[in-house]
């Protein structure tokens, strides 16, 4: 066998032996995210006017807006993080966070009480829709 092919892989192997880690060393090193990374949707309850456009447009049907009960609800596992809701929101109260969601073991729903004055929002986790 010619020696050349062996040398070819050896070069790559030597590089990885001497060149340090190729992985990002998570969780020892804190991950950095790019400016444009799409993460979970967040709402500013003080700005929301409960117009329901986000719920109407959501391709996955992950958002539910209850005008009478004054709640804005998102099913985190249904959400496909497309950022369509944030793009069309007329009050710009929806933003996409700049990181990834942690793993979950059950259905996760976040319910926000929309009250223009107080910014109170409570999280209701682990409930199924029923």
């Amino acid at each position: 066998m010619p020696l050349l092919p062996i040398v070819k892989m050896t070069k790559t192997v030597m590089k990885s032996l001497l060149g340090g880690s190729a992985c990002k060393m998570y969780p020892a090193r804190k991950p950095t995210f790019f400016g444009g990374t799409r993460g979970p949707v967040e709402i500013d309850p003080s700005k929301c006017v409960l117009c329901g456009l986000c719920a109407k447009k959501c391709p996955a049907g992950a958002i539910a807006v209850d005008r009478e009960g004054k709640t804005w609800e998102i099913d985190r596992l249904k959400c496909i993080v497309c950022s369509l809701c944030a793009d069309i929101c007329p009050k710009k109260c929806l933003v996409l966070r700049n990181d990834y969601t942690p793993p979950v073991t059950g259905e996760t729903k976040d319910v926000f009480r929309i009250e223009p004055v107080s910014k109170e929002g409570h999280q209701d986790q682990g409930k199924s829709k029923g």
């Binding site: 066998m1 050349l4 092919p5 070819k8 892989m9 070069k11 790559t12 192997v13 590089k15 990885s16 190729a22 790019f34 400016g35 444009g36 990374t37 799409r38 447009k57 391709p59 496909i80 993080v81 497309c82 950022s83 369509l84 793009d87």
Partner: protein, 359 residues
């Protein structure tokens, strides 16, 4: 001649990331016939058009496949744009080209890793995926998503790449290409890869043409057919030639992909050099009425979108003929007469994407 036995292959098999079932009729160690059956991951995405706004359908189309997702979204958008007579801005066309080629690079690198893994060359597998990771980083930086870009929409693109980012990305891409070159050399010259793939699953040029093979499977058999030559997006303004190999075996198909990654790097550079300024989207007014076949080249081959609109916000019909579906026929042909131990390599050599094929 030995007794004929039927051996089931799949739907769960170490070489397959996705479920396809093959009934292999074998005599001794030789496969006489392979009968494929699909239907394990059918999701009914095509029927969703009946209750989904045509602009939101792009998001669904993107999720047909987890690898060439951007091009599925692009195929859907192209079809709807053509029906509605929307003129997409030039800048958006170039951006679409850049992201399409990024998808192709990461898809081919994924396949090259899997091919190395199938040949038992584990370190080459990890090195291929190490390079792929850097491509995914570029995708995330420019679109916001690693695999599901979500950057395409009817009428243009949802994001723009500013000049500074483009220069930075191109600089990084130069290093990635140098890194890739050392890996490509191993695929090209290394004894173990050549030994495992050469002469396995041979399909002649005539057979490939007759059975309607597409993409690298056809090009590996010497058919110079590349849908990008139709000039959709900005491919009309770029200079490239289809990569072809003549041997028609698994090694030829592997080499087509190895060389296409270089070609994609080149296309991104060309597109970045020619990209004009201006808007990236136009406003979409009205609803689609009419029908259109859009064709484009995915990493696995030609995909065909048939879209029919009825003048409402819901489409009438949405049909996708994916490259894997077209390549199943040629795969069955390659399997007939091969050794049982070669079956995983041959199945892998068409780069099967079963979720694509079933939608």
């Amino acid at each position: 001649m030995g007794k004929r036995t039927v051996i089931p292959f799949g739907p769960q098999h170490p070489v397959l990331p996705e479920p396809i079932h093959l009934d292999l009729a074998i005599e001794d160690e030789r496969v006489v016939e392979a009968i494929p059956s699909l239907g394990f991951v059918h999701r009914g995405l095509e029927l969703l058009v009946e209750k989904m706004d045509f602009q939101e359908m792009v998001f669904v189309a993107e999720r047909i496949c987890g690898i060439c997702s951007f091009m599925h979204g692009l195929g859907c958008s192209l079809g709807i744009e053509e029906i509605m007579g929307i003129e997409v801005p030039e800048r958006a066309r170039y951006l679409r080209t850049i992201w399409s080629e990024l998808s192709r690079i990461h898809s081919h690198l994924l396949w090259l890793g899997l091919a190395a893994d199938a040949a038992g060359f584990e370190s080459l597998f990890t090195h291929s995926w190490r390079v792929r990771e850097k491509i995914l980083d570029i995708a995330e930086e420019t679109t916001g998503g690693r695999v599901i870009f979500g950057a395409c929409k009817v009428g243009g693109t949802r994001r723009d790449i500013d000049g500074e980012t483009l220069v930075r990305v191109l600089g990084r891409m130069k290093d990635i290409e140098a890194d890739y070159r050392s890996i490509a050399a191993v695929f090209r010259d290394d004894y173990s890869m050549r030994h495992r793939f050469s002469g396995v699953g041979v399909m002649s040029r005539e057979e490939a043409r007759e059975l309607g093979a597409v993409g690298p499977t056809a090009r590996g058999s010497g058919i110079a057919r590349d849908t990008r030559e139709l000039g959709y997006a900005a491919y009309g303004g770029l200079d490239f030639e289809p990569v072809i190999e003549d041997a028609g075996d698994c090694y030829a198909r592997c080499m087509v992909r190895v060389r296409e990654v270089h070609q994609s790097f080149d296309l991104i550079r060309q597109a970045a050099a020619k990209i004009p300024g201006g808007p990236v989207e136009v406003k979409v007014k009205g609803f689609p009425e009419g029908e259109y076949f859009s064709r484009l080249e995915q990493p696995r081959g030609e995909v065909i979108y048939y879209i029919r609109g009825n003048g409402t916000k819901f489409l009438d019909r949405f049909r996708v003929r994916t490259p894997t579906f077209a390549n199943i026929g040629p795969m069955v042909k390659m399997l007939a007469g091969c050794e049982l131990a070669d079956v995983p390599v041959i199945v892998l050599s068409i780069d099967p994407c079963i979720s694509c094929a079933e939608r």
